[in-house]
């Protein structure tokens, strides 16, 4: 065994390098069926965080990954412009925006079905390691109720993991690093 390299904070100046012009676009803007996820990142005083980086990773709409560790392989229907990965730095008002396709449900080795979700990493000055959360979808009540991860989360806190449908058609997923409505974060 070789010892792991420790994490260090992304610091205040990652925006020099890490944002990509097309980072927020898991699929191009205007792709049929695209969902737009918006949100803000808050600190423990309730202030928005203007120097955070959000990254998302998810299955395609068939619940599959174009990756060697998904034994089922890429989706046969093919989502040519879908790359599964999104990256967006927060604006001065603490907001981020990701354009993607809704993922499908996922099988687990235990024979359960995971509800559609995105894995979300948050990096920021003041975070010595990334924190990881999941975003679930508000129109999947039954699937969310049966999800094997959500069911391990204290009931009163589950709502922090479910996006909110906004009248404009966006999904809102705010992330609170600390405080009364602190988002549930995972040990991965």
């Amino acid at each position: 065994m070789t010892g792991l390299t420790p994490s260090q904070t992304v610091g205040p100046y990652f925006a020099m390098r890490l944002p990509w012009p097309d980072g927020p676009y898991v699929v191009p803007e205007g792709t049929p069926g695209a969902v737009v996820i918006v949100g803000r990142v808050y600190d423990g005083a309730g202030n928005t965080i203007p120097d955070a980086l959000i990254e998302t990773w998810q299955a395609d709409p068939d619940g599959r990954f174009a990756h060697p560790h998904d034994p089922r392989g890429a989706s046969p229907s093919g989502y040519r412009e879908f790359r599964g990965f999104g990256r967006c730095e927060t604006s001065p008002d603490g907001s981020y925006r990701i354009v993607t396709l809704k993922p499908g449900p996922l099988p687990t080795p235990e024979g359960d079905i995971e509800a559609p979700h995105l894995d979300v990493s948050v990096f920021a000055r003041g975070l010595l390691d990334r924190v990881v959360t999941r975003m679930y979808f508000p129109d999947e009540l039954a699937a969310n109720a049966a999800d094997p991860v959500l069911s391990t989360v204290e009931r009163a806190r589950r709502s922090t993991l479910v996006a909110v449908a906004e009248p404009e058609g966006h999904l809102r997923f705010d992330i609170r690093l600390q405080g009364r409505h602190e988002t549930v974060f995972f040990d991965i």
Binding site: T2, G44, H69, G126, D129
Partner: protein
């Protein structure tokens, strides 16, 4: 599950392979003390930004054992040479920083994107919110990226970064460092870290470096001067291997 979700699962063509139980790799959980705690008193900005509730254990399932395999379309050769990106020669000591990206089983991690950013020789970042009164260098942006080769190797040509004050406490100076961002091959392997230089007198004073509890792990953040990597009449060489989480238990290739 909604009827729509059920239809989507049913719509996935069933082959013999797919009716077999899903078997996934699992990734090592880092030992205590390797990664810094999220709440670290010496680093002021952690106080309002660390979660106070305990983390919930997330099993490694499909979303966690897969990850973005990015890069080739993003990269040009010039991205790995930070000294030739602006036309003229930047000021400062030219250095080569090279090493391997490995997993904790010692296996190379090939074809993975490595992104770096750093100050110039004077300790100044090219960033709008940076106010350190040190000169910008018109010939240095401090941004690099490359893809590891089949042996997990990466290599950058750059300039020795400078130390800079950061206001965390009285007379606080960050030791010279280069920020590294890595993906590995799975979401679990994602790592953002910093590489430091050997013998830097600021290291014992730096809360960010010293936030790593385990002494041996902390030392792994420091590159080694390498005379073999050093090019005569041209540039000093520093070697730094980066180790990402490996798979534990039975491995399925």
């Amino acid at each position: 599950m909604t009827a729509d979700a059920a239809r989507r699962i049913a719509a996935v063509p069933t082959t013999t392979e797919e009716t077999e139980p899903l078997v996934l790799p699992s990734y090592e959980r880092p030992a205590a003390g390797v990664h810094p705690p999220l709440d670290f008193e010496g680093y002021r900005s952690t106080s309002l930004r660390h979660p106070k509730r305990p983390l919930v254990l997330l099993p490694h399932r499909l979303t966690e054992v897969t990850g973005p395999l990015l890069g080739n379309d993003l990269i040009t050769m010039q991205d790995a040479d930070l000294t030739t990106q602006r036309g003229g020669e930047p000021q400062g000591q030219r250095i080569i920083v090279a090493g391997r990206v490995l997993d904790s089983d010692g296996r190379p991690v090939p074809d993975t994107l490595v992104e770096i950013w750093q100050t110039n020789a004077a300790g100044r970042y090219r960033h709008a919110r940076e106010h350190h009164p040190a000169p910008l260098d018109p010939n240095f942006d401090g941004l690099g990226r490359c893809i590891t080769d089949a042996g997990g190797r990466y290599r950058f040509i750059t300039i020795q970064p400078g130390a800079y004050p950061w206001g965390n406490h009285h007379n606080a100076w960050r030791p010279a460092h280069i920020h590294f961002s890595l993906f590995g091959r799975a979401f679990t392997q994602r790592l953002v870290t910093q590489m430091y230089f050997p013998g830097d007198p600021l290291l014992p004073l730096d809360p960010i470096f010293n936030s790593v509890p385990d002494e041996k792990a902390r030392q792994r953040l420091i590159a080694a001067f390498d005379i073999e990597l050093t090019q005569p009449e041209w540039a000093l060489g520093y070697n730094w291997d980066i180790v990402l989480r490996g798979r534990d238990g039975t491995v399925f290739e």
